[in-house]
């Protein structure tokens, strides 16, 4: 609170230097703690002399400051400007101690002296003066404030305000609407000519026929067409306005069929394999009498769109995958283990607790199912229909994973964002309900998108060079779900988005015909949140991109990795994969016996199924980072996504270690290469003997890597949590005394008594 820094004398002083205790009294008045507000943000309530807890054990590192509730966020402004932590991603709209109101999971107040505790909702009363406020956040942070020195009434008011404002009654009350309206007009004034079309976005949004047309062309789906029967959402409220359907199906037929599908969701084309097989998703058919007929018509149409008239495989995902409640409860458990439970307790039985949550099991189940579908599309040349009751949850996960495995385009940053846009946002994943932004219905809440990101992370973990983006990107993307400023994660369907944004445009006097992506931008414009430099943390230095293919197909195709070296060693994944990938078999069995160990009989000559052979063949070849990618699926291949789940946990943090150190080293190398390349290009420039790949690229221009080769940064700030920091972001309430389980744990009794004995000496 009190700065020990010597104040610099501003005039010559003839008196002896002031004593330190005197200085304290004449210290300049406590500087005014002003929150950093963004456009349209207003302060609702505030309280001074609040202590933010940094560690559960002692209060010596705690920060003193002011707690503020605005209509956008909970903000804490410390008295002493803390030493600027270099180890953090700095958000352009949120400060280090800020939490958006939509990110709050639970607001808990407590009074320790009275032994009272209350979870606050909207419009509630609080009968005691809180001494403590604990904020459980959706991004897994737990933030604790103490009011021991604060005015009890204003503390209470702030708590109630936070609780109230984090439970908006209506979608339009989410702060994004206020903010984007103001921002739009402010930016209009700045440059009269309006912004670049689509706000300069390179990510395909899939809200216009041309976006779909391009996708059809890109994947060579010549027997498919863009259909606009759902324009103005006349057929289905949850489908996008433009969808892709088999050429052989007329609009009239589609209209006719639509009534039989749940929510009128007629089959939706997702993607085409170069071999002609298509990936299609659809909802279930309500009328059992019509089922057969409709299936047949749809199947025939899809078969006709296949160049080889290949069969169609229908996969019912509801039958083989966990439902959204299962996923939610798994997530709640894994969160409990990772961040909420006292660390000593979760430590004792870490692996079995993780198992108990079943989260990894579900991650594996989704990857496995997606791999099965890859086999149909790639190995059997068959078109696949993913079917789910509503076609808005599991289908999103599986269809996007399948495309990620099959199509390297989606492993680039732009491609990945387009994929999310296509299979989640446009396909009508209920982000509003699943995120529970309005905190109205907890039954609908389910972290499907996070599950998908976790699956992507597992693949990234296995194929570190195949993705253009990093795990930091995935984590930041997941955090963006809880910032209500972007249109991507706010709505249940594109119809809902269109409706709300139209109303919004009217209210905010935004001229008609203005692009939605301009006045209410999606999350994909990362410059809204991060500086260009910070965005480079999204770039994977190992990503080889298309260049690798160039080497392979070009003259220099001499790398004998595939032929000589790997083939013999690689042969061998099949044994495991037979089990890892067998379709439909024991996908979710639990507590299976260990009897499946070495069986006495000589079993290897058993016939292998075609799918087993497909996977075996694939794994016996070297993985082409720019081709088909199939994840390894043995339980030992599944890992907990530590950066996401444990980034705030101080106990799990490895100072100066973790995968980030390898990332650091690789980034520097890549940066050095890029500098050398550009130097070389400049140097070659005038001679003109070679066509230059990218002649205009300036040397001093943007660098792709976060860590620069030329200015070797000290790496001491790197931790396994980088670019996040556990400091102050996870403060569980400390327990009175040591949990008894600790003492009862076998030989540890001796250890503990011994330590106690030593202490008393």
């Amino acid at each position: 609170m009190f700065s020990v820094k010597q104040t610099k004398p501003t005039f010559k002083c003839y008196l002896p230097p002031v004593q330190t205790d005197v200085k304290k009294t004449i210290e300049p008045p406590i500087k005014k703690l002003e929150p950093k507000l963004i456009q349209g943000e207003i302060v609702v309530n505030e309280v001074n002399f609040v202590r933010k807890c940094i560690s559960a054990e002692s209060s010596q590192d705690d920060l003193w400051g002011k707690l503020i509730c605005t209509n956008f966020k909970v903000s804490f402004i410390p008295q002493d400007a803390p030493s600027k932590q270099k180890s953090q991603l700095s958000h352009l709209l949120l400060g280090e101690h800020d939490i958006p109101l939509t990110c709050l999971e639970q607001v808990v107040t407590a009074n320790d002296t009275k032994g009272k505790k209350k979870v606050l909702g909207s419009n509630q009363k609080l009968k005691f003066n809180p001494t403590e406020l604990i904020l459980y956040c959706k991004d897994l942070r737990i933030i604790r404030f103490c009011f021991d020195e604060a005015g009890p009434e204003s503390a209470k008011k702030v708590c109630l305000a936070i609780a109230h404002y984090s439970h908006p009654a209506d979608l339009q009350l989410l702060f994004g609407f206020e903010y984007q309206g103001r921002r739009y007009h402010a930016s209009k004034e700045e440059h009269v000519n309006g912004s670049t079309p689509r706000g300069g976005l390179r990510t395909t949004i899939f809200d216009r026929p041309s976006d779909w047309d391009r996708e059809i062309k890109r994947t060579g789906a010549s027997e498919w067409r863009v259909c606009s029967i759902n324009e103005s959402y006349v057929i289905s409220l949850s489908l996008p306005e433009y969808i892709v359907v088999p050429v052989s199906l007329a609009d009239q037929d589609l209209k006719q069929y639509s009534i039989f599908f749940t929510d009128q969701r007629i089959p939706l084309w997702c993607w085409n394999h170069p071999n002609g097989s298509a990936l299609v998703r659809m909802a279930s058919i309500n009328d059992p009498l019509q089922q057969r007929k409709i299936y047949q018509k749809v199947f025939t149409a899809i078969t006709k769109s296949h160049p080889q008239r290949s069969e169609v495989v229908r996969c019912d995902l509801d039958k083989s995958l966990p439902n959204i409640q299962d996923i939610q409860s798994a997530f709640v458990k894994v969160r409990q283990i990772c961040v909420i439970d006292p660390f000593e307790e979760s430590e004792e039985r870490w692996l079995s607790s993780i198992e108990n949550s079943r989260w990894l099991e579900y991650v594996r189940a989704f990857l496995k199912h997606s791999a099965d579908i890859v086999y149909y599309l790639d190995g059997k040349n068959a078109s696949v229909i993913l079917q789910e009751e509503e076609d808005r949850d599991l289908n999103c996960v599986v269809s996007s994973l399948v495309q990620l495995m099959l199509d390297p385009h989606y492993r680039s940053l732009i491609g990945f964002q387009s994929l999310v846009q296509k299979e989640w946002v446009m396909a009508g994943h209920r982000f509003l309900d699943r995120c529970n932004h309005l905190k109205k219905n907890e039954k609908e809440e389910s972290p499907l998108f996070l599950l998908f990101l976790d699956c992507v992370w597992q693949m990234m973990n296995q194929y570190p060079a195949a993705f253009e983006f990093t795990e930091a990107y995935l984590t930041v993307l997941s955090d963006s779900m809880w910032i209500p400023l972007f249109s991507t994660f706010l709505f249940n369907s594109s119809q809902q988005r269109a409706q709300h944004l139209m109303d919004f445009a009217k209210i905010k006097a935004i001229p008609q015909g203005e692009e939605q992506t301009v006045y209410f931008p999606p999350v994909w414009d990362w410059s809204q949140q991060f500086s260009t430099k910070d965005q480079t943390l999204f770039n994977n230095p190992m990503y080889v991109g298309k260049g690798a293919a160039c080497v392979q197909n070009g003259e220099v195709k001499t790398f004998r990795r595939t032929k000589k070296n790997y083939s013999s060693t690689l042969r061998g994944m099949h044994g495991s994969l037979r089990n890892g990938l067998k379709i439909g078999e024991d996908s979710l069995t639990r507590r299976g016996s260990l009897a499946s160990e070495l069986k006495p009989e000589f079993s290897p000559v058993k016939d292998e199924s075609p799918s087993e052979r497909f996977f075996r063949d694939w794994f016996s070849r070297a993985a082409d980072q720019q081709g088909l990618l199939i994840p390894l699926l043995l339980p030992s291949h599944m890992a907990l996504w530590k950066l996401y789940f444990l980034r705030w946990v101080p106990e799990a943090c490895i100072p100066k270690g973790g995968p980030i150190t390898a990332y650091h080293k690789l980034s520097q190398l890549v940066d050095e290469i890029e500098i050398l390349q550009s130097q070389l290009r400049q140097y070659k420039g005038p001679s003109g003997t070679m066509p230059l790949p990218n002649p205009s690229r300036p040397l001093s221009g943007q660098r792709r890597m976060y860590f620069k080769a030329t200015s070797p940064t000290p790496t001491d700030f790197l931790t396994s949590s980088f670019p996040f920091t556990p400091t102050g972001n996870l403060c569980r309430r400390s327990f009175q005394g040591t949990p008894i389980s600790k003492f009862l744990n076998g030989a540890k009794i001796w250890l503990s008594t011994e330590t106690l004995a030593n202490d008393s000496l």
Binding site: L351, P464, V556, G572, L632, S636, E672
Partner: protein
């Protein structure tokens, strides 16, 4: 040879189950004095698999099935082979022979005494001097005015399981050493293991005191006092008893036990709780079982792993090392480490602490030195623990496995801090068990001297050093801050994982896509091949056009990151490999390896005879790394640019153009 009942069986079905192979291959099984060799019938590949007898830990004979009789060979490096022999008679013969051959009764039957890697006598003698322990003590700054060498144990008079050259506090007279050793289990008195120059604190090791319930020994108390005094920076020492306190107390009834803090002045006793060798043995078995499950569910795997307790034991050892390292580096307090006999847990704790404290031990050479010092010299019972001879199965335990795993776990937490990679650690593991070299034979220095191993066998270290390019971690950079100073690992259970590379052989088939480091190595290899290609083309162009090559010839760096060679080919590739398969000669270096026979000459030549660049060049940001990336990223154009970038520094600019034009 007298134990060979049958040298050859035909029409055998053979399955390498640990590699995940599913279809058995048909071929011929040969038994030699040293190896079991399986040769595929398939005329195209004629793949050979060599299994050294001493690597076989068990031979099971499950019930006969209609197709024939089976054998299951389990190896000490966790590989499992299944063999199906049509005739029961043959199977019985093979079984009997293998059971006998895999359990040698005398040292003279061991492979290392017959193995001859084609070097002359001088080279062999040199090989034993490759690792110089005294030089390492000198590197730590010992002897100095605090620590001196003692001659007390020359000729192993005081303690027969200790090395003859030891360091003790300067004030410790022979009388005190002898007195102290009488009060210590097996005479293993406190001696210096590691001296930390920055804080002047030391890590010392010994065995448990023979204190019983009330026994004491003046010399021993003085010895500990001297240990404390030899560190001017602190007025107490830690005595780390690595056992659980319960075990230590139980030992008191047998007249052993632990130091009584009332009798010793200024010691702080700390128990760590590493379990004994029997617990570790069964824990490892449970974990191997988890790895062998054929279709485990997530539950099977996670529960199995947790119930094996293996990771908990690894954590205990790392905790012990961390406690010692912190005491020495942060508090500047010397530590005396012991367990019961001071050759298992003590070796683990001391060596882990040294790795944490001293970056040198995180280099390839350094790890060799460390193992030689804390394990080989200080009398870790290699032959008993790793069952080199048929003996008491209760003496067998994966003690060094655990140390190596600690190193691996550390390298996972600090990917840039170690000069070596996983393959190096696994190679050491294999050699510890294989007894192909004499390094790990016997139970102490004296035994090795009596066996005259230096004359009769070879040291493994020069061989590993020769292959160091294969064992180098491309992410390592000596000057990086992570590679320096004290390592402070996180030892919460979150940070431990199953070592798939060692225990789950199925995983071995996929190293290239698993870690960034492997990827970097692969890319490096690729770029190197491309460069070679380029040179060839340039030469050919020059030859065809008849133009003299005006530019200086591009030097192709011959650094092989040849993990691309068989990743798990047993202890050692053969140095001479000219014999035909049907007469497996004694000087054949295979322990366990498999490769296509028809390719043997070229592949071996490539990987073994190329001159290696000194590894020091790896440290600087070196042009290879750049070229790797550029090649991949923009193909041919950059290929030429990278070769020119190598000669960037002030060379004739025309050279680059020449390259371009011709390329």
């Amino acid at each position: 040879m007298e134990h060979l009942r049958t040298p050859k069986v035909e029409n055998v079905r053979f399955l390498d189950r640990s590699s995940g192979q599913r279809k058995a291959t048909i071929g011929t099984l040969y038994l030699s004095a040293t190896h079991t060799i399986f040769v595929e019938n398939n005329p195209e590949s004629r793949k050979e698999t060599w299994v050294l007898h001493s690597m076989v830990s068990s031979v099971e004979r499950p019930p006969t099935i209609p197709a024939g009789s089976q054998l299951i060979l389990r190896c000490k490096d966790f590989r499992v082979f299944q063999i199906l022999i049509p005739q029961e008679r043959d199977c019985l013969d093979v079984h009997t022979s293998l059971v006998r051959l895999s359990r040698p009764e005398k040292y003279s039957e061991l492979y290392c005494l017959s193995f001859n890697p084609n070097v002359n006598k001088l080279e062999r003698e040199e090989s034993w001097n490759f690792i110089d322990i005294m030089a390492d003590y000198k590197r730590m700054g010992v002897p100095n005015n605090l620590w001196v060498a003692t001659a007390a144990n020359s000729e192993y008079r005081v303690c027969d399981t200790y090395p003859s050259e030891l360091f003790v506090p300067k004030t410790a007279t022979p009388a005190i050493i002898v007195g102290s050793s009488r009060f210590r289990s097996r005479g293993r008195f406190p001696a210096l293991s590691y001296f930390h120059q920055d804080t002047l604190a030391a890590v010392c090791r010994c065995s448990q005191p023979l204190s019983g319930f009330s026994g004491r020994c003046q010399e021993d108390e003085m010895m500990l006092q001297m240990l404390m005094k030899s560190n001017p920076g602190s007025d107490y020492i830690y005595v780390v008893d690595t056992r659980p306190k319960l075990n230590a107390m139980a030992n008191r009834a047998a007249g052993k036990g632990y130091e009584n803090e009332d009798h010793y002045t200024n010691i702080k006793l700390q128990f760590i709780g590493i379990e004994n060798i029997h617990v570790m043995r069964s824990s490892q078995q449970k974990m191997i079982d988890v790895g062998e499950m054929r279709s485990p569910s997530m539950t099977d795997f996670l529960y199995g792993l947790e119930n094996s307790g293996w990771l908990k034991h690894i954590k205990a050892i790392l905790d012990a090392g961390l406690f010692i390292a912190r005491a020495v580096a942060d508090e500047g307090v010397s530590v005396l480490v012991h367990c019961s006999d001071g050759w298992d847990r003590t070796a683990q704790a001391c060596s882990v602490a040294s790795i944490l404290l001293d970056p040198y031990y995180r280099t390839i050479k350094g790890l060799m030195v460390l193992i030689e010092k804390d394990w080989v010299c200080f009398g870790h019972k290699f032959s008993h623990r790793y069952a080199h001879l048929d003996g008491d199965p209760k003496e067998v335990s994966p003690v060094i496995d655990q140390f190596l795993e600690c190193v691996w776990q550390l390298s996972e937490q600090f990917p840039c801090a170690f000069e070596f990679n996983e393959r190096f650690i696994i190679a050491i593991h294999t050699h510890v068990y294989s007894s192909q070299y004499g390094t790990f034979l016997g139970n102490c220095q004296k035994e090795r001297r009596d066996m005259r191993l230096r004359e009769r066998s070879h040291s493994v270290w020069p061989q590993l050093w020769k292959d160091r390019a294969e064992y180098t971690n491309p992410l390592y950079k000596a000057e990086l801050s992570q590679s320096q100073g004290v390592l402070r690992p996180n030892t919460t259970p979150y940070c431990f994982k199953m070592w798939k590379g060692l225990y789950n052989h199925t995983e071995k088939s996929t190293p290239p896509r698993q870690s960034p480091a492997d990827f970097l190595s692969a890319v490096r290899e690729e770029s190197q091949q491309l460069e070679e290609e380029l040179t060839n083309h340039q030469e050919r162009i020059a030859a065809l056009t008849g133009k003299p090559i005006t530019w200086e010839k591009i030097e192709v760096p011959r650094r092989r990151t040849s993990h691309l060679r068989q990743t798990h080919s047993g202890p050692d590739p053969p140095t001479t490999y000219t014999d035909t398969i049907t007469s497996p000669a004694q000087d054949n270096g295979h322990t366990l390896s498999s490769k296509p026979a028809n390719q043997k000459t070229p592949t071996q030549d490539l990987s073994l005879t190329l001159p290696l660049r000194p590894h020091t060049q790896l440290k600087s940001p070196n042009p290879d790394d750049h070229s790797t990336r550029s090649n991949l990223e923009s193909g041919m154009a950059d290929l030429s640019s990278c070769s020119s970038s190598r000669r960037d520094n002030g060379k004739d600019p025309n050279l680059d153009e020449a390259v371009f034009i011709t390329a």
